[in-house]
Subunit: 109 residues, 2 copies
């Protein structure tokens, strides 16, 4: 075992969960917050800022890119990373729909 049984769930549930999973790591939260604060940055800035190895930062950036939330554009010998605004807004909508839904509690609890 060790494999999530994605076939048991609705596409929407798998999609939401896989996005939340990517965000569920402090390095990736820190990376996003740094990019948001600085507007944009390069990989090496994050290596210095966070204190993880360059290979590790690069891997986290790859995962963030994979869900589309950030974008990297080549600028000479470095890569400029920034938030992908369209996708960020999509995520906002999706997360708001989930987290801001009205929860009604039964008396028993």
């Amino acid at each position: 075992m060790g494999v999530t049984k994605t076939e048991l769930y609705k596409d929407e549930q798998n999609k939401l969960a896989s996005r939340l999973k990517v965000l569920g790591h402090p390095a990736r939260i820190a990376i996003l917050q740094y990019i948001i604060n600085q507007k944009a940055c390069i990989c090496n800035d994050l290596v210095e800022e966070l204190g993880l190895a360059q290979a590790t930062i690069s891997q986290h950036l790859k995962e963030l890119k994979a869900i589309g939330i950030i974008q990297g554009s080549i600028e000479g010998k470095s890569v400029c990373y920034c938030i992908e605004e369209q996708i960020w807004k999509q995520f906002q909508t999706e997360f708001n729909a989930f987290f801001n839904q009205d929860v009604k509690i039964k008396q028993c609890c």
Copy 2:
């Protein structure tokens, strides 16, 4: 390796990430949605609804309980699970602060 270096991040980042991590599994999303729809349910309902083994559901419920988002109260030979409203609202506030922050994009990207 294989250990997240939590000492590198701010408490807030670790807290947010660990909560998102728990939500980053489709079974746990499905469980939350089912509880929200039904107002409350027992473990066995979820076993039938989701098609995972009882031990597996019980483990997922344990993780959701660990972050406080659900609560279980004994009712005879079963346990009634429901959303913990106070914590849910806390999470709403925390997630909204993160996801609904204003993101400004640099021209380069």
